[in-house]
Symmetry: C2
């Protein structure tokens, strides 16, 4: 799987930048040279899903920048901030091998200095689904993403479809705040058996890993029902819940069928829709979705 | 007072841009040509205070852009949005004569399209003083200012000291969101008798206009007390209130003595401080401040 990076006969390596000011200066220089910048913000613990974003960026941008920042503001008080995985050396290798030009890896104090007090809220789409289950999560996410955008001034940004609501919110923020950034949603990458890749999958034990498959299976079941002509959201949800009941380690948080443009709930599946699911598998909360 | 504008032998006139997209394109072109942009956001009804901001901008920037946008989001339900003065033709003339290069004059629907839902909050400094008396005011202000910054990408921005808290909030937002913009506070311009210029002064009748002077006079009284060695905030406030009591058309909202860096209240005046006052004069709410 190793991809050797050779540019004009010279091997090139990724630069890791920890200073915010330096990152800003580099981005400014790149813009002066008219270079397009593709940007992939991450919280590290990278998997093939993240690397797919890097690949997409490299297709069209002169320079690809990734960031790793575990953003405390998007974790709730009962969430897994301290035990969130931090395999930084492995992450660096993965990004480097895939041809990332810069990794921005700032520390928390530089992103949130002591007197920090500004926050972004995206009202309608951030207070449903994940936002309802995780109050404050999306405000924290939007705030750090806006900061990163302002530091790096990307031409294109890449987000994974697995975090579908996050995609909608960042896209809405870009539009509402008149940012001159092109947003790209990249399809969810899955393990061969269908499990959506997530940095949190490492928390699953063998049994949980097995039962976690039921999330995607329930989404495929819904797709089949719709393909077979069923249009009732109520019926589809009922069948999904019935299916998930068989898996004792699954504790469902929500299933919603929504308009994929603005996440407003649909009652009858007539045109394009997104089905979103969130569930605890043991103690690990996972999300997934499928576009119909 | 007319200043004739002649550049390389040719008179130059101000361009009024109403399209958001066009304004963004112009700003982008200017940046490509490495031109510095000075920006003055206003709500129109311009007076010498605004024009002073234009003068400051023209001293150091290649291009000076002003905007006129009466931002509905920063008016409360009981405030004077509909009767806020709108002398647009006069405003254009004033800006043009002072050498403004571009006036950005968008309509409300373009700034806030129907699905608009993003807002900015600057927590600590926006919920005291004016923020306490006018809930939501500063969130609305910060949101539109950030949008305008993103549309125009200014190098330098100019705000009047009269709206002292606004200055602190915008400066904090610029810092917190890592915007690459230099903030400038420009001293309050006053009528010869001391009244701080404000677009709202036109609402004052003769008697109110006369009594409105007491605001600045009370600030000067405070300054004198401090210059004479008084350090007790309590005493200074008491004396100011006693002075203002004589003016029957004045209904005091607040007097506060604060640290001018972060607006935290001070108890003893020992070093630099700002004294802020807000009061209704008849039905018109005015603010003023003085730095000690």
């Amino acid at each position: 799987m190793l991809e050797v990076r050779v540019f004009s006969g010279e091997p090139r390596f990724m630069n890791t930048i920890t200073s915010l000011e330096e990152m800003q200066k580099i981005a400014l220089e790149l813009h002066k040279k008219n270079k397009s910048i593709g940007f992939i913000p991450t919280m590290g613990a990278l998997h093939e899903g993240h690397l797919q974003l890097v690949r997409e960026s490299k297709k069209v941008n002169d320079i690809t920048v990734a960031s790793i920042f575990i953003n405390p503001k998007q974790f709730g008080p009962n969430e897994d901030l301290t035990k969130y995985p931090r395999p930084i050396e492995q992450d660096k290798k993965l990004l480097d091998v895939k041809g990332t030009d810069y990794l921005f890896y700032p520390n928390v104090d530089e992103i949130y200095p002591s007197n920090f007090q500004t926050s972004i809220a995206v009202d309608k789409v951030a207070n449903i689904l994940e936002g309802k289950s995780r109050p404050g999560h999306f405000d924290g996410m939007a705030t750090v993403v806006l900061k990163l955008f302002n530091i790096i001034s990307p031409t294109n940004v890449y987000f994974g479809q697995k975090d579908f609501q996050q995609c909608i919110i960042v896209r809405q923020m870009i539009k509402d705040l008149n940012l001159q950034i092109k947003f790209h949603t990249v399809s969810t990458v899955r393990d061969p058996d269908g499990l959506a890749l997530s940095s949190r999958n490492i928390f699953l034990n063998t049994q949980e890993r097995e039962q976690a498959l039921s999330l995607y299976q329930s989404l495929l079941l819904a797709k089949k029902l719709i393909d077979d002509g069923n249009k009732s959201v109520e019926l589809i949800k009922k069948e999904m819940k019935k299916y998930l009941k068989k898996y004792k380690l699954i504790r469902l948080d929500y299933i919603e069928i929504c308009n994929p443009e603005n996440l407003s709930p649909v009652k009858v599946v007539s045109k394009k829709a997104v089905i979103l699911i969130a569930a605890f598998v043991g103690k690990t909360r996972l999300i997934d979705n499928i576009i119909i």
